[in-house]
């Protein structure tokens, strides 16, 4: 009797342990029971998620027996994804969030031979194509951004966006806006990540071609990085930031833009989409980013919502069919509109709503050069957080420019060595 009890308890414990071990699983097929698991990387209440839901329903109706498990994003899509990758429990399709090539390329299936790949938007090619022309994701949209502005606030201060070519011009415009009692730059310190965009926006106009090349080869250009943070420090010294910087979120920025409380924002265009929800007829546009080295103002471009397929998925055919379905011009047009961006494939139509005028003026005309996101190309993988925190330190005066640059340099060197 006693032996039987011991045996029963031991088996129970072992079963429990094994259940726990297999729960996370090493099933690299992602979705269960024939389902294609799709990590959308977008919030459940976003227009883009709603559009994904509609299109997936149609896809399932056209492909009997195929089920797609749409997964909305938590507040930390990248964190969730890294846990899934580390545990071997990899989804079938996921949103690569700007990193299809450099970070997730080794986990993804090459897609350059898919029929839609020939239509890749030119602005995405530098960031998404590998040296041998490899493409690891289907781009839903193209992230093209500049300085967001409220046209009414600028007009009230007598500022014309096209007159701002350098950071000196920008500082004069900001002073004029401040004199009218408005906040020149609204930034979201509570969310933190938007603060890193100051470097992404300013650096391309500060670093020389030779320095950019040396950064890619692992040599940190300390002098130019210092100039970038000096520019941010000068914004702070001139009192250009919103008073509630530390508690402000991107939603506060959208609201301030919509309500005409601020002149500029160094954020992506999705903030304008949110601003139009607060005030449909808000006069918001985006303009090229000024330069420091006398060069031509530019726009920032890069991968945004792009969808990659797990190279070891158990459903390669279904996953490819789903991407091909989403890539159809009428479907991609709807998705790009829902994300508030230009489409990632040239076959689809652009509908940017209130931002269409800026898009036509600067992007469609080809009048303004585009540069990639600085951190994605010239900083080692993993340096983003250091960029964010050190810039935040400068904005809040918690650290000096010299200390911030030293920290970035240390992490740059460490991460570059780690990547090698």
């Amino acid at each position: 009797m006693r032996r039987r009890l011991v045996l029963t308890a031991a088996i129970s414990a072992l079963t429990l342990a094994l259940t726990g071990c297999t729960g996370g699983g090493t099933d690299s097929g992602g979705g269960k029971g024939g389902q294609v698991e799709f990590l959308t990387g977008t919030a459940v209440d976003s227009p883009l998620y709603g559009q994904y839901q509609d299109l997936v329903k149609k896809f399932e109706a056209d492909h009997s027996g195929v089920k797609v498990n749409l997964v909305p994003s938590s507040t930390d899509h990248e964190g969730d994804l890294k846990v899934r990758l580390a545990s071997g429990n990899i989804p079938d399709i996921w949103m690569t969030h700007g990193w299809s090539l450099l970070r997730y390329g080794k986990f993804l299936m090459p897609l350059q031979n898919e029929p839609w790949a020939k239509d890749l938007a030119p602005a995405l090619k530098p960031a998404m194509l590998g040296q041998g022309g490899e493409l690891y994701a289907m781009p839903v949209d193209t992230d093209i951004a500049g300085l967001l502005y409220n046209a009414d606030v600028l007009a009230e201060a007598g500022v014309k966006p096209d007159d701002i070519k350098t950071w000196d011009d920008f500082n004069r415009a900001a002073a004029a806006i401040k004199a009218k009692g408005k906040t020149p730059i609204y930034a979201a310190g509570k969310d933190q990540w938007p603060t890193g965009l100051f470097v992404d926006w300013i650096a391309p106009g500060v670093f020389s071609e030779a320095e950019l090349k040396s950064m890619k080869e692992g040599t940190f250009a300390e002098g130019s990085y210092t100039k970038v943070l000096d520019t941010v420090g000068a914004f702070r010294e001139a009192g250009l930031f919103n008073k509630d910087y530390s508690s402000a979120t991107t939603d506060n920025v959208a609201r301030a833009l919509a309500e005409g409380k601020t002149g500029f924002s160094f954020l992506m265009n999705f903030v304008a989409t949110s601003a139009f929800e607060y005030k449909k007829d808000a006069r918001i546009g985006f303009m090229p980013v000024p330069t420091a080295n006398g060069g031509e103002p530019y726009l920032i471009s890069g991968e945004k919502n792009a969808l990659g397929i797990n190279k070891d998925t158990k459903h390669p055919k279904e996953a490819k069919e789903l991407l091909a379905f989403l890539a159809q011009p009428e479907n991609l047009t709807k998705l790009a509109k829902a994300s508030g961006s230009a489409p990632g494939l040239t076959s689809a139509q652009s509908d940017l709503g209130g931002l269409q005028s800026s898009y036509d003026t600067y992007v469609k005309s080809g009048a303004v050069p585009t540069v990639p996101y600085f951190d994605r190309v010239y900083m080692p993988n993993g340096a983003w957080d250091t960029m964010v925190k050190t810039t935040d330190g400068v904005v809040t005066k918690q650290s000096t420019v010299a200390d911030s640059v030293a920290k970035v340099k240390t992490d740059f060197t460490k991460l570059y060595a780690q990547a090698k």
């Binding site: 006693r2 009890l5 011991v6 308890a9 031991a10 129970s12 414990a13 072992l14 429990l16 342990a17 726990g20 071990c21 930390d76 990248e78 964190g79 994804l81 890294k82 846990v83 990758l85 580390a86 080794k106 310190g189 509570k190 969310d191 933190q192 008073k243 509630d244 910087y245 530390s246 508690s247 402000a248 506060n252 993988n381 993993g382 340096a383 983003w384 957080d385 250091t386 925190k389 050190t390 935040d392 330190g393 904005v395 809040t396 918690q398 650290s399 920290k407 992490d411 460490k414 991460l415 780690q418």
Partner: protein, 314 residues
Amino acid sequence: MVDSGIDTAVRRSADATYRPTAGPRHRPRQGLVNVLYLPALALLAMFTAYPLVNGVGLSFTDWDGYSPGHHLVGLENYQRLLSDGTFRTVFVNTLVYALGSTVLQQVLGLGLALALDRPMRGRALLRAIIYLPVLVSPVIMGTIYYLLLQYDNGALNDIVVALGGEQQAWLSTTTGSVAIIVAVNTIQFVGLSMIIYLAGLQSIPTMYYEAARLDGASGWSLFRRITVPLLQPAFATSIVLNLIGGMKLFDVIKVLTGGGPGYSTNSVSTFIGLTYFNAQSAGYAAAMGVALFAVIMIMTLVLNAALNKRRLEA
């Protein structure tokens, strides 16, 4: 003669050497008891021992947190800890959170326990209100205080403006933010200290106070000579629990300040998360985790030894 149960009980209690007879109903089943530990041990092994051992192993690698491979780097991550100025900042913050919250919670918790140990109207309701935040998730607690303290539409600023003052950016400075985090953590867990001290106070026999009063003691001397010494076990429990909780503080910081401005309000726990997921240095993050574990363990052992010594002396 029929033996009543009461008689038997009285006889047994009188016989100090009585032990249950070794019949089948009373035989101690130590083997079975040991077997019943197994599920708990399995869970402990799975969710505590394995991650701990795995974490220690990771701390000697350069793993980025998601890629399949990594390299052994020896003690490099631990050397980096010693020279990392940011880690020093967050470690000092952690000590401030732990010690600040612990001191405040003991003072306020004991004060509230003494006040609410006396018979008064509404005592049960007051105890419940003070204890209620313990039951709330720290994330919700942090969100409530964020909504209270935010610059635009924050309840506190609305009151300040209604009284004729100017809006304040309450979370814009390091000192202010650290103080607010300590205060929010204290408000949330002071009820726990209060309950522990109430339990301690109620376990002190009233005859000690009565005897002392007959000898002329009163007020402060009763508290110092009887209450404090006999509350030593409660002190030990409350201080150790609060200290460990403070050293591991995570949720409130994440929600209230996100660790900013800069890195300045991060605790070691939030910094581990940043280092692991955002900076992609899982090996270094694991080294921080091991260091935090070691510090908490040493603090707990030292504190327990000191408090036990005082208890024995008392």
